[in-house]
């Protein structure tokens, strides 16, 4: 496990080193030229480490992948089940354990369900309930071969009908799946036999296997769903995973016990318990008083203190979650590129990362999500309030302007402080920001407000992206902005739209990369957001716990956990 993690860290560190080298070469440059210089030099840009081929359209790749029969590694010989509970503590409990709804925490869902394919630490996909897959020559249909002799917890066999039921369930408006929009490209699911599922998509997408690795696409049991109905299924889920759902006491715990008939690696603990503790400070107390085996979402400020405690293991691992501020830019002031660059230069992001986030965050150097295949890094704009003032003055805002920063508090430790820090930095260049700390509803309403009628609104969401196309399309494609209500910044660059359309139809990964690079360069130059940082997963555990890994995707591998 340790090796996996260090490999991962090394892989994330690599591009940064390359970038440093590039920076060393260039002297003080304006942000625009800095971006250009990185783009031109071969050493300056580097695709973030990872399998450059998400999935091959040719026949060879699926077979190659399918040789890895069980994604969690071969069953361990010493796999004796310890008769113990494994207790995980994290933030507020999910509304439903129906994975298709898409609001559940991965910890519980990963224990109970399986997907057709799963993410690995390099953010490419590996077989799970599907053993291999291939795409047709016209790229319109994807054929997945399904694992045989897999049973759901209620004893019913896993077949292609369950795959179809899962997609139907996501697309059913009554499910209220929050990822529904991502799945509407699936026009049909064909089930020629029990162990083959064929997906017809329109438009075509080279990233289809990634969609099947989405947390919403965990395979649900068709017969159980039909019997119970969606709402009850979400309270008493039936899956194929290593643990069987046991009970859910609201706001107290969700528990699952070992699935003796599991098709993959048998878990090493008898029972899995998830307890919701919404407040980060309370989670620290739970950890310190050793009332859980593993505690997620530690506040960065407490970590140095916790690290001194030798009876605890504190782990930080990269995540694919990024924090930035969306600037509504259909109208002035943010429609002016100079203003957007100025708001980025006015904020000392390094100081925020160091002092507010305790160093447990990474500065954003790409409009993509760092750590993804196809993400290219550029020089971030330097902290330079004088230059920011100059840019504002050039843009006709010498006297500054007023904005409102809307966010919802308590979603991650440090959010209140980061907003206040930005407010303070902006005030030093004449931008007067009012903080609007709203509940989820107000926040979502602000996030989706029309950029044309709300020009002075800034919104701070946190987003997790699993692949480059997903991130770029939903954040920067001008049409997606209105249709999907995911990004309403009003960012509109026809050149970016054109390139995104190109990469979406390109099934050759090698040819996709240059397009990705070009489009990201364009976006970085535009600076449509206030780019802050990418998050780090911070969690603590009892020293006797081993075998726990959390992937950048937020997934974890339940089968390998032991408790000493």
């Amino acid at each position: 496990m340790l090796t996996r993690r260090s490999v991962l860290r090394a892989s994330l560190a690599l591009p940064a080193v390359g970038l440093l080298a590039a920076c060393g070469g260039g002297s003080d440059k304006t942000p625009m030229t800095a971006a250009e210089s990185t783009g031109s030099g071969a050493s300056g840009t580097s695709a973030v480490e990872g399998t450059p081929t998400p999935i091959q359209s040719s026949g060879s790749a699926p077979t190659a992948v399918s040789s890895m029969a069980t994604p969690e590694g071969s069953p361990t010989a010493s796999g004796e089940v310890a008769d113990v509970d494994f207790t995980i503590v994290d933030g507020p409990e999910p509304n439903s354990l129906d994975p298709c709804v898409g609001t559940a925490y991965q910890y519980a869902v990963n224990a109970i369900f399986n997907r057709l394919v799963i993410w690995n630490e390099k953010m490419s996909v590996e077989p799970s309930l599907a053993t291999s897959w291939s795409v047709s020559d016209d790229h319109k249909s994807w054929t997945f071969k399904l694992r045989e002799n897999v049973k759901f917890h209620d004893g019913s066999p896993f077949t292609s009908a369950d795959v179809k039921a899962t997609i139907d369930h996501i697309l059913d408006p009554n499910t209220k799946s929050n990822r529904r929009a991502n799945f509407t490209l699936i026009k049909e699911v064909q089930t020629p036999d029990d162990h083959t599922a064929i997906f017809i998509t329109d438009p075509v997408t080279p990233d289809f296997p990634f969609l099947m690795a989405d947390g919403s696409a965990n395979i649900i049991c068709a017969s159980a769903l039909q019997k119970m109905g969606g709402a009850d299924y979400g309270r008493k889920p039936v899956g194929t995973g290593p643990f069987k759902f046991e009970e859910w006491v609201p706001n107290d715990h969700i528990s699952a016990t070992i699935n003796e008939d599991y098709w993959g690696t048998r878990p090493l603990v008898r029972r899995f318990v998830y307890k919701p503790v919404p407040d980060p400070a309370t989670r620290v107390i739970v950890l310190k008083s050793k009332q859980a085996d593993l505690v997620f979402g530690l506040p960065p400020a407490d970590v140095p203190d916790l690290q001194k405690d030798s009876s605890l293991k504190i782990i930080d691992s990269p995540s694919l979650t990024i924090t930035e501020m969306q600037l509504k830019q259909a109208k002035p002031p943010f429609s002016d590129k100079r203003v957007r660059q100025a708001v980025n230069m006015a904020v000392d992001k390094e100081a925020i990362i160091k002092n507010v986030m305790g160093g447990f965050a990474r500065m954003l150097k790409t409009p993509d999500c760092p750590g993804l295949w196809g993400a290219f890094e550029f020089d971030p704009l330097p902290y330079d309030p004088a230059k920011a003032k100059q840019l504002l003055s050039d843009a006709g805002f010498a006297g500054g302007f007023e904005v409102t920063i809307s966010y919802t508090s308590g979603r991650w430790p440090g959010d209140d402080q980061v907003v206040q820090a930005v407010q303070s930095y902006w005030s030093q260049v004449g931008i007067k920001a009012t903080i609007k700390k709203g509940d989820q509803a107000t926040f979502i309403a602000d996030l989706t407000k029309d950029p044309a009628t709300n020009p002075n609104l800034v919104v701070m969401p946190q987003r997790t992206s699993y692949y480059t196309d997903y991130q770029l399309y939903r954040l920067y494609q001008s049409g997606a902005a209105n249709a999907e209500a995911a990004q309403r910044s009003g960012y509109n660059n026809p050149e970016v739209d054109k390139l995104l359309a190109q990469e979406r139809e390109e099934f050759d990964s090698e040819k996709r990369l240059p397009i990705f690079e070009q489009v990201q360069k364009l976006i970085w130059d535009d600076q449509p957001f206030l780019y802050l940082f990418s998050m780090v997963n911070l969690y603590g555990m009892m020293p006797k716990v081993s075998g726990f890994t959390i992937l950048p995707s937020g997934d974890w591998v339940p089968g390998a956990i032991t408790k000493g």
Binding site: A301, D305, V356, S424
Partner: protein, 311 residues
């Protein structure tokens, strides 16, 4: 039915202060026309009440003089100095954004007192007007107003305040409104009781006989009559209001950052409870002290106005 119902209702009135955190067990309706000198003598005799008053005065001074005595700008962040322990430069240390805790405490006194007093003032004005009008008019007006008050009373104060502020959205003004509206019923009942008790008194009847208008009677005769019990209720309510308001702030429904306010400071500091407990302890102590002061002062006032309690 009527007897029992009325008795019960009046008892709720009497006890309503107790629900919310004071031990006022009777309405001191006798006190209104006592000579002033005797009041001050009694009040001074209660050392605790004087202590309460002194703490209140100190807090008010802190709030008023904050711009002069605060060592730092309470909203000026300096990330390099975050989460420092108390030292000579920062007597109470710094918070998570490097702001001076002492300065925030002093400026916080301002907003905290404004919220508390504002809320109680709203409750007092609305409550007194509704109560007096209901008591004076009688009949349908009385029934409608007092039944409405009954309905407000049927909701626990804190729940009602949460519901209102949840609907209006978080913010300083909305907390004032929420806590104010949630506290109206206690004042309305006291004013109502006092108005009823003097309605048939000779001086009211004679005022009416000589042609005094309704407004004049209510203003000149009824309001002074309920002045004393309302004053006591106001003071004791201040203690409750600060606890309710800081509770709302604690839940994130109060004043928004970077505004310094004690409940919000406590709520922000809570994130650092194990590593920097002083950020939680200090604003909590401040709330505790001012609430104690209001309670002491209110109790002293009540005792001074109500001779039956003096031994």
């Amino acid at each position: 039915m009527r007897d029992a119902g009325e008795l019960n209702r009046d008892d709720v009135t009497k006890q309503s202060t107790a629900v919310t955190g004071s031990a006022a067990q009777r309405t001191p309706e006798l006190a209104g026309n006592r000579p002033r000198r005797r009041f001050f003598r009694r009040f001074r005799r209660s050392k605790t009440a004087v202590v309460g008053l002194v703490i209140i005065i100190v807090c008010v001074l802190m709030a008023l003089l904050a711009p002069l005595i605060a060592p730092d700008n309470p909203t000026q962040i300096s990330l390099g100095e975050s989460l420092q322990s108390p030292s000579l430069t920062h007597l109470l240390g710094t918070d998570e954004l490097g702001r001076d805790t002492l300065s925030r405490l002093l400026w916080g006194a301002r907003l905290t007192l404004v919220i508390t007093c504002g809320a109680v003032l709203i409750a007092l004005v609305i409550g007194a007007v509704l109560g007096i009008v209901a008591g004076f008019r009688g009949g349908w007006t009385d029934t409608i107003i007092m039944r409405g008050i009954d309905m407000l009373l049927a909701m626990p104060t804190f729940l009602l305040a949460i519901a209102i502020v949840a609907a209006l959205g978080p913010g300083t003004l909305n907390v004032i409104i929420a806590v104010g509206v949630a506290s109206v019923s206690a004042f309305a009942r006291i004013a109502h009781g006092a108005a009823l008790s003097v309605k048939e008194e000779d001086y009211v009847l004679s005022a009416r006989a000589i042609g005094a208008g309704d407004g004049q009677i209510m203003w000149r005769h009824m309001l002074p009559n309920c002045f004393a019990p309302l004053l006591v209720q106001t003071t004791l309510r201040l203690a409750t209001a600060i606890l309710t308001a800081s509770g709302l702030s604690f839940l994130g429904l109060g004043p928004q950052p970077p505004t310094p306010e004690w409940g919000a400071m406590l709520s922000a500091g809570r994130t650092y409870l194990t590593s920097n407990p002083q950020l939680t302890i200090i604003p909590g102590l401040a709330i505790l002290f001012i609430a104690i002061a209001f309670n002491l002062f209110g109790d002293g006032l009540r005792d001074a106005l109500d001779p039956r309690l003096m031994s």
